[in-house]
Every structure is written in C-alpha cells, then in structure tokens.
C-alpha cells in the first residue's frame, strides 16, 4: 500500500526527516511514536502534500504510484486521507458543503455520478451518530468555534464518509478527554479492514490502548530507530523515549 524509502525532508534548510523508511501493507495499522520535534507531523504533512517542505532525497510509493508527484487533491481522490492535528477553521463554508464537495471530488475521480441530497444524508446519518455529532452541525462553518474535541470528531467523520484506503491520523488524540477519545477510537476502529491501511502519529500510548496497532515505530531525529508491536508502545509509556534514543545512538 505505502512504501517510504530513505525520505529526507527539510524546512527552510533545516533537516527534519533524515532517511526514513517505512512499509505499510493493506489491512495494517501502524503507530508512529516519538518525542516532540522528532518529525512525526512533518511526515504526516508531507504524505498529504503540504508545500513548504523540501523533499531532498527518497521516494514514496503509494499503490504503485509516486505519491510525491501528486497534487494534494489528487492524493485525496486516490484515497489518501490526513486527519489534521490542528483542523483549519473555514468561516463561511459549512460542513455539509465541504463533505459533499469532498465526496463528489472522489466520485468524479472514480467516474461515478455526483451524490444527490437524499443519498448524501443517507450516507452520513449513521456516521454522524457514531461520532456523536448533531444535525445542526452540518450548517455550521467548518471547524469555526469548535471545541478541540469537536474538531477531532469532525476529522474522523470526514474520514468515515470518504472511506480512504490510507488514513494518516496526526495526533488525533491530543486535546481529547477520555469520553471524546473513546468516540474517536470507535470511529477509527469501525473503519479498520483488510483493504485499508492506517498510520497513527501519536505522542501518547493511551490512544493505542483503544486502537490497537499491528506495528509500533519510534521516530527519533528524523529516522525510525526502533520497531515492534503494541508492547513497545507500553514500554515507551512506562520508560519514556530516552532509552530508545540512547540505544539508537549506540547502534
């Protein structure tokens, strides 16, 4: 599904990712953990196609295609979804409009007809219920005046509606209380399937108790320095990141 090879990324001449390798197969959930500043969010943003990042070396292959050659919208239409760490507020554009436009962009790319109002409501109703989002929400401007939890639930709602092949969740657990975290996790888990891959970028282990990953990677100083299963996440939670970094330094 996704193969990242020797990825080097700089921002304003500053090197952030320094030779990152990662391979994600369909059906797998990977967690990328690491201390602040290790490059986790840069990885998520580069995969989604944000500019301001210079890819100096390496490549990313997504379903056999060069992902980095694609415009952000092309990636989205091909099934790549980024749940933003800080979802952008867009006053004047309502949620219903954005959701519909996103669905239609994807359908257009697949040569499918546009969604009509009735079908659209049918498509989103149960997903809104799952994310504990009320109907009034559809007429509100995207993320404007939303609480932190509402913004994250909104990201997951969009993901559920768009049913991506590759979902990248950037610190989706940050700023959530326990109840909101459970809702978000239920949403993510409902989307797990053998055809779909997920990359969870997170700082804390608590999300991974609810969304159990198949693989856990530690990102440190721009590279993956250790990989394991969910036990690694627990160990990191108990012992912190220092020992992994020391181990990496010795290697």
């Amino acid at each position: 599904m996704l193969k990242i090879e020797n990825l080097h990324v700089s921002v304003d001449e500053r090197k952030i990712l320094k030779g990152l390798d990662l391979s994600v197969n369909a059906g797998e959930v990977h967690a990328i953990m690491g201390p602040n500043g290790s490059g986790k969010s840069t990885l998520a943003q580069v995969l989604a196609g944000k500019d301001n990042y210079d890819v100096t070396r390496g490549r990313v292959v997504y379903r056999g295609e060069e992902l980095l050659e694609m415009e952000p919208e092309e990636r989205a239409r091909q099934g790549v979804f980024l749940a933003f760490q800080y979802p952008t507020e867009i006053p004047g554009v309502n949620n219903a409009y954005l959701l519909k436009a996103a669905v239609n962009a994807q359908r257009d790319a697949n040569g499918e007809p546009q969604v009509d109002a009735f079908e659209f409501m049918r498509l989103i109703r149960s997903k809104m219920e799952l994310m504990n989002i009320s109907k009034e929400f559809l007429n509100r401007s995207v993320n404007e005046g939303f609480s932190g939890g509402e913004k994250k639930r909104n990201e997951i709602l969009q993901m559920l509606v768009l049913e991506p092949s590759l979902a990248i969740l950037d610190e989706t657990d940050s700023g959530l209380d326990v109840d909101a975290l459970k809702i978000v996790a239920a949403g993510v888990n409902s989307l797990r399937s053998k055809d779909r891959a997920m990359v969870l970028v997170t700082h804390y282990e608590r999300l991974l108790e609810l969304i159990v990953p198949d693989h856990v990677h530690v990102l440190s100083d721009g590279r993956i320095v250790k990989s394991g299963d969910r036990e690694l996440a627990r160990e990191l939670d108990a012992r912190g990141y220092d020992w992994v970094q020391q181990e990496a330094a010795r290697a």
Partner: protein
C-alpha cells in the same frame, strides 16, 4: 470641463424633460449650480481615488425616451426568467422611466407607493436641491430627474411585505438616467425595500440615482440594493437619510457589476437613540472600479452606527472604501464601528481604504479597522486535502469571504439571489455552481 460646455451638453435634454414652467426654472437653477463646479475631479479630496473623466467625457443622451411596447415585453421576459415575482409589490423602471405595465403597487393600509411623475414632478427639484449641496452629481440629478419612486408609510403602519424597485437599463447605448427615490417613514412605521439594478443587455451608459430618506421617531427602514449592471455601465448614487429619535436604518449594499461605481452615503443621526447600520459586498475585477464613500454624522447623543464592507478585488480591479464618522459636539454616548475587509485575488488588484474619525465629544466608543488579505494558504490546503481542486478551493474561499456578509440579509430569496449572482461573477461569467 467648463460650466459653459456642460450647460450646453445638458440643455438639449432639459427641454424634453417633464414639468411645468416652474419646474423648468428649478431644473435650470440646479443645472447652473452643477455647472459652477462641473464634474468633480481627483483634485477634490472626496474624489481622490475615483476618476470621473471617462464619465464626464462620454457622449450621453440625458433625456431617455419612454420605453416602446417591444422593449417592455423583453424586460418582462427577462424579469420572469430571473425569477422576479410579478405579483409582488414592485415598481419597474426602464431606462429611468416608470413602467406601469410591469409594476404592481397594490394597496395596503397606511402605505403609499407611486412613481414620481405620477405624483407631480414639479416640486421635486425644489424640495431636494438645497439639501444636496456638496454633491455635484446629486445636483445634476435634481436638474435632470425624470422619474423615480415615492414611498410613504404612515405613523404606526407597517408595509406587509418587502417592496421591490427594479431599475432596468434597456440596452439603448449611452443613455443617462437620473432616477430619484424618496422614502418617508412616519412615527414607528416599518418598511423593507429592495432595489435591483440590472441591464437587459450589456451597453454603455450612466445611472445617477439619488435616494432621500426621512425617518420619523421610532421608524424602521431596511434597504437592500443589488447592483448587477453589465460591465460597461457607470453607476453613481447618493443615499441621504435623516433619522429622528430611535429611528433605525439598515442598508445592505451589494455591488457586483458596473464599470465605474460610486456610492455616496450621507447619514444624519439627528435624534437620540437613532441607529444606522451599513454593510455590503463589492466585487471589482477586469477593470471595474467601485467606490463606497460614507459620511456618518452623529448629531444627537446615544446614537449608534455600524459600517462593515467587504471588497473582493480581482484582475486589474480597483476598490475604494472611505468611511467618515463625525461625532458632533455634545453628542455623548456614541457607539460607532467601522470595518473594511478586503480580499485581493490578483497581483494587479488595488484597494484604497480609509476609515476616518472626527470626534468633538468625549464619551464615545468608536472603532475602526481595515484589513487587506489574500486567500489563506492553510485553508486552501485543508480543502485540497479533502479532494477539492485548487481553483475550486479558491473560488469557495472567496465565496466564503462574501458569505459572512450575505448571512446578514434577512430575506431568504434575496440572499439566495445575491449568493447566486456573486458566484456567477466570481466564476467570471461561467455558469453558477452550488454554493455553501
């Protein structure tokens, strides 16, 4: 241009305009007053950013003919096509002249709606001339006015539904129309009025409109204007309002078309507790020039005003906002807010924005702010990351900028109409899509 030559230019039209000998004398006096100054030039501070040379040098016909049957039926078809309700109370003007066939004055208690000509144009220049000092184009309107609307609401009466004033330019090139709108609201009266300005087909010409409003204590007036001229038309307008105690005026101004557009507002808050709220959107691209010029006089204490305009300036467009708030001596407890927010869509788009305050009292709350920005890159990326292509995302964000103002329009059908037209203009003539 000298007084002599402008006089000669208008004289031919003057002979063909309606009215008695007395009216003719008043017209002549107004024309003389106009000719003393001529068209304002950019040397005049009030006109610093707006050059009327293309207008003052245009060869225009100042005495429009009454519309022929064939033209009336074309206008009727266009209005039907555009979804205007022929049964709604409305006055339709073609090339500045009243068209009774397409109008619907109806009857409601305490409300009178009539064309200016039908209630005798004779006293009109007299009544307005003195009040229009300092506005040369309005003075010219006083000389050349041929028709318009006179609307009055009696004390305590409420117009049951919005009244539409529809001004259609009929396609005759180089025509100059000088309509006059007079609105008189009695004590505690209420009225909503929607002014539509549109072209049957793209042609050059000039609309020079004067609106005069007198509001008695406690009256409420809600005014909207959707100016949707073709891009060859000149449009200048003065709106002058006098508000007595606790009178409320709200104006939503939407300027989408026109080649050169200048709106002057002259609002006088004369009674304590009076409130005026002006807001709007203007679009200027492909060489369009739109200028909103406001003077807000807080004459009485405890008066309140708001001005909030948003400009969307595209390719070689030029927008101007000049808002001046004057708080008179002893007018205490004033609340005045001004904002001018502008979105520039092209490198050669230009905006001049100038909020001004002149305060001669000490207990006042005044705020003003101006912003000039471009499309937000973070918002753009967010939309693209959801699959919208870049152009679509830009159009959507531009529309969203306008939408914040559109939400203030209280008539759902009008809001929808304006939104549709904004979307059409932003797509620059392409078919309108759905909008949020």
């Amino acid at each position: 241009m000298t007084g002599e030559s402008s006089n000669g230019r208008f004289a031919a039209g003057l002979d063909r305009l309606p009215g008695s000998a007395e009216t003719a004398a008043l017209r002549a006096a107004a024309l003389e007053a106009f000719s003393a100054t001529g068209f304002p030039t950019r040397r005049n501070e009030q006109w610093r950013y707006t050059d009327l040379a293309p207008l003052s040098s245009a060869d225009l016909d100042f005495a429009p003919q009454p519309p022929a049957e064939e033209l009336i039926s074309r206008v009727a078809a266009m209005l039907d096509e555009a979804g205007f309700d022929p049964a709604a109370p409305r006055l339709v003007f073609i090339d500045g002249g009243y068209c009774e066939t397409l109008s619907q004055t109806g009857a409601a208690a305490g409300l009178s709606i009539a064309s200016l000509a039908s209630c005798g144009a004779a006293d009109v220049p007299a009544r307005t001339h003195a009040a229009l000092d300092g506005h040369p184009l309005a003075t010219l309107n006083a000389a050349l006015v041929s028709d318009g609307a006179v609307i009055a609401v009696d004390d305590g009466a409420e117009a049951p539904e919005p009244i539409e004033l529809i001004f259609v330019a009929g396609g005759q090139s180089d025509l100059a129309a000088h309509p006059r709108i007079m609105i008189d609201l009695g004590r505690d009266a209420e009225l909503t009025l929607v002014q539509h300005v549109l072209d049957l087909e793209a042609a050059s010409g000039w609309f020079n409109v004067v609106t005069e409003i007198v509001q008695a204590p406690g009256s409420t007036l809600t005014l909207y204007r959707l100016q949707d001229h073709g891009k060859l038309r000149f449009h200048t307008a003065l709106l002058r309002a006098e508000l007595a105690e606790d009178a409320k005026l709200a104006c939503g101004w939407f300027d989408l078309g026109g080649q050169l557009v200048r709106n002057d507002f002259d609002i006088r808050l004369e009674g304590s507790g009076a409130e005026a709220d002006l807001y709007g959107i203007f679009l200027a691209s492909s060489g369009q020039h739109t200028d909103n010029h406001i003077r807000m006089d807080h004459i009485a204490p405890r008066t309140k005003s708001g001005e909030a305009f948003r400009g969307i300036i595209g390719e070689s467009g030029h927008g101007v906002f000049n808002g001046k708030v004057v708080v008179h001596r002893d007018a205490q407890h004033i609340d005045a807010r001004q904002s001018s927010d502008n979105l520039l869509l092209a490198d050669n788009a230009e905006i001049d924005t100038k909020p001004e305050l002149e305060i001669y009292a000490d207990d006042v709350k005044c705020s003003h702010g101006a912003t000039i920005g471009e499309i937000d890159e973070e918002q753009l990326f967010y939309l693209r990351a959801r699959g919208l292509d870049e152009d679509e995302a830009r159009d959507l964000l531009t529309f969203a900028f306008a939408n914040a103002v559109l939400e203030r329009v209280e008539l759902p059908e009008l809001r929808e109409r304006i939104a549709d037209r904004v979307a059409v203009h932003l797509a620059d003539g392409e078919a309108a899509g759905e909008h949020p």
